[in-house]
């Protein structure tokens, strides 16, 4: 993912232009999606990131065709997913943020009924095998763990061998092992040519899986590109603690920004190696031991946090934002 070039120059499978979604009307209304543009190529894995209430799920629902947009245009496989639902649905698979399977049916009964509503469904055993639920066929859905329920949801989304797969927070609630397995599965699907659009809270997940990503905030796409592109231009970071008596002041460290909090020092630099060399040379020369020394390149997490706080500062939090239905209930849960 070093190149900034779009790795999939093929025809766009998902095209979104100036998308708007408004709930309710007047002063009580809430403008959840405010002019989103996206394009996802065939076989590409695209991740939508954002804080809670950023409009990820609202955007997903419009692209999935579950609701009509207030404004703008959506095309999935060349069709309007809302108006031409019957054409689009057989070719896509959708996994919502939460369940939606009756608790009193078993896994197999749930699968059978979904297979009856899915064109050209793969054999149920195969779908359950894919997500590792074969041994749980006869268990009632209400007795499944949260992670198992997520996997059942994924299996149902995969039942029709979809060309385009929509995953809304697919690994939330999964233990690390199950998460790794889901990642493996998603990567394989992508390798077979499935186009995937996913939302996630886990920046690690986006870093691992996504060919490209978009970071949303306040209903808009704030930044988009490959992980490398999003990180590019973000400073690296060095942190350390000075001993009580140094007898020498820090060197100038050209191009870097130094912030001191008591003895704790944070250095932000666009040139990690040069700044670090200079710093370590200085410490060596003055025989100073730098405590808790940590140097890291810009990560998606740092870029994300910086972008989110920048956007929060400059983006005018529009008048009707505080009435967001489920917004801001939790803060974003970071993976690390």
């Amino acid at each position: 993912m070093e190149t900034s070039q779009l790795p999939f120059p093929g025809e766009p499978v998902i095209e979104v232009t100036d998308l708007h979604r408004r709930y309710g009307s007047g002063t009580t209304g809430y403008h959840a999606v405010r002019g989103v543009d996206l394009s996802v190529g065939r076989g590409e894995l695209f991740a939508l990131l954002g804080t809670n209430g950023a409009g990820k799920t609202s955007t997903m629902e419009l692209i999935e065709g579950l609701a009509a947009p207030t404004g703008g245009r959506v095309r999935v496989l060349g069709h309007d997913p809302y108006r031409e639902r019957a054409t689009v649905r057989p070719r896509i698979g959708i996994m919502l943020q939460e369940g939606g399977f009756p608790g009193d049916l078993t896994v197999a009964e749930t699968g059978r009924s979904w297979a009856g509503m899915t064109s050209h469904a793969r054999p149920l055993d195969e779908a359950l095998e894919l997500v590792g639920l074969s041994a749980r066929r006869k268990v009632r859905v209400k007795q499944l763990s949260g992670g198992e329920r997520r996997r059942l949801d994924l299996a149902m989304a995969l039942l029709g061998r979809p060309e385009v797969l929509f995953l809304d927070e697919p690994s939330t609630g999964l233990d690390p092992e199950a998460r790794a397995a889901v990642w493996r599965l998603v990567r394989e699907l992508r390798a077979q040519g499935t186009t995937v659009l996913l939302t996630t809270h886990y920046l690690e997940e986006a870093e691992e899986l996504a060919d490209r990503l978009a970071i949303m905030h306040g209903g808009r796409v704030v930044t988009t590109g490959t992980v490398a592109e999003v990180i590019a231009g973000r400073p690296s970071r060095i942190t350390f603690e000075l001993p009580e008596y140094t007898g020498a002041s820090l060197p100038a460290l050209a191009g870097a920004q130094v912030v001191a909090d008591g003895r704790k020092i944070t250095v932000q630099t666009p040139r990690l190696q040069a700044t670090l060399t200079e710093l370590l040379g200085w410490a060596d020369q003055h025989r100073i031991a730098l405590g808790a020394l940590d140097a890291r390149s810009a990560s998606l997490e740092e870029a994300f946090l910086a972008i989110a706080s920048e956007a929060a500062l400059e983006g005018p939090p529009p008048a009707d934002t505080p009435t967001a239905p489920s917004a801001r209930r939790r803060l974003i849960g970071l993976a690390r």
Partner: protein, 277 residues
């Protein structure tokens, strides 16, 4: 998890409306069988009510000699079964599926909205019609009732009843938060059908003005059609044959169709696919 993403296994057939209805109906039937409360309401409650109905009708027969208690009993029992098994049961089912986000999930698939609502109703409607058949056969053999005068009209009446009750269930579910509260929110329609649509109190024993108002209630015309179809009269005139029954049924056909259309409009307008947050 294995790595059989690409498989050579054959895939299933194309999904059709019929297959989707059957798949949904089958799952819903399993759920009905596993839900004791719903089963009780569907199977036992109507039977208990039929005994109550018999007493009420016998009482009225004392004051109104010539009241055809047997035919009214069969007609009332059919109505009761439909009201509880289709309307009440289905309201609770819609509320339960909405609460579990099942309806929302189903909408992500290939099924159309109307198919989802109809599929959920398959076992309720099937069970109700089965019970009606049992009542009809029992009535014919035990009570020596005549065969239906106009089976076509009877069928049209049943379709109108079932359609109107399904749409009313969809509307009621919109105003019902939990399955438990369905007992209260379904009360108005249930009372109206039992006491105002000629089931417990035949329209012919009511004062004329009251009967006229009751004839205009949502479920009255459809129930009266069933009665005309079977017995050739809604009680306001002497029984007629096949040809004459059409004339007796005409006003009910009109009002019944209007109510069905209104109920369907209301269902489309008010039905909620997701719980309020």
């Amino acid at each position: 998890m294995t790595t059989a993403v690409v498989s050579s296994a054959p895939s299933g057939p194309r999904s059709t409306a019929t297959r989707r209805l059957l798949a949904l109906g089958r799952a819903e039937a399993v759920l009905l069988l596993r839900n004791r409360t719903a089963l009780f309401t569907a199977l036992l409650l109507p039977v208990l009510l039929v005994f109550g109905l018999k007493n009420v009708l016998d009482q009225q027969a004392k004051d109104n000699p010539g009241l055809d208690v047997d035919s009214l009993l069969v007609n009332g029992a059919v109505g009761m079964v439909l009201a509880f098994v289709v309307y009440y049961n289905l309201t609770a089912a819609y509320v339960a599926r909405r609460g579990e986000l099942v309806l929302k999930r189903l909408r992500t698939g290939e099924a159309r909205d109307a198919e989802i609502l109809a599929g959920t109703a398959v076992p309720s409607v099937g069970l109700a019609l089965l019970m009606c058949t049992v009542i009809g056969v029992a009535g014919a053999s035990v009570l020596d009732l005549t065969a239906p005068v106009n089976p076509l009209l009877l069928a049209v009446g049943l379709v109108l009843v079932v359609g109107t009750l399904m749409a009313l269930a969809a509307i009621s579910s919109a105003f019902t938060r939990t399955v438990e509260s369905a007992g209260i929110t379904t009360m108005p329609v249930l009372l109206l059908t039992q006491f105002g649509s000629g089931l417990f109190f035949p329209l012919e024993v009511m004062p004329d003005r009251v009967a006229d108002v009751c004839r205009l209630l949502p479920t009255t015309p459809a129930f009266q059609l069933v009665r005309v179809g079977w017995f050739g009269t809604d009680g306001s005139a002497a029984p007629t044959g096949f040809a004459g029954s059409w004339a007796a049924a005409a006003p009910h056909l009109v009002t019944g169709s209007v109510w069905l259309a209104l109920a369907v409009w209301g269902a489309v307008r008010y039905f909620r696919w997701e719980p309020r947050r």
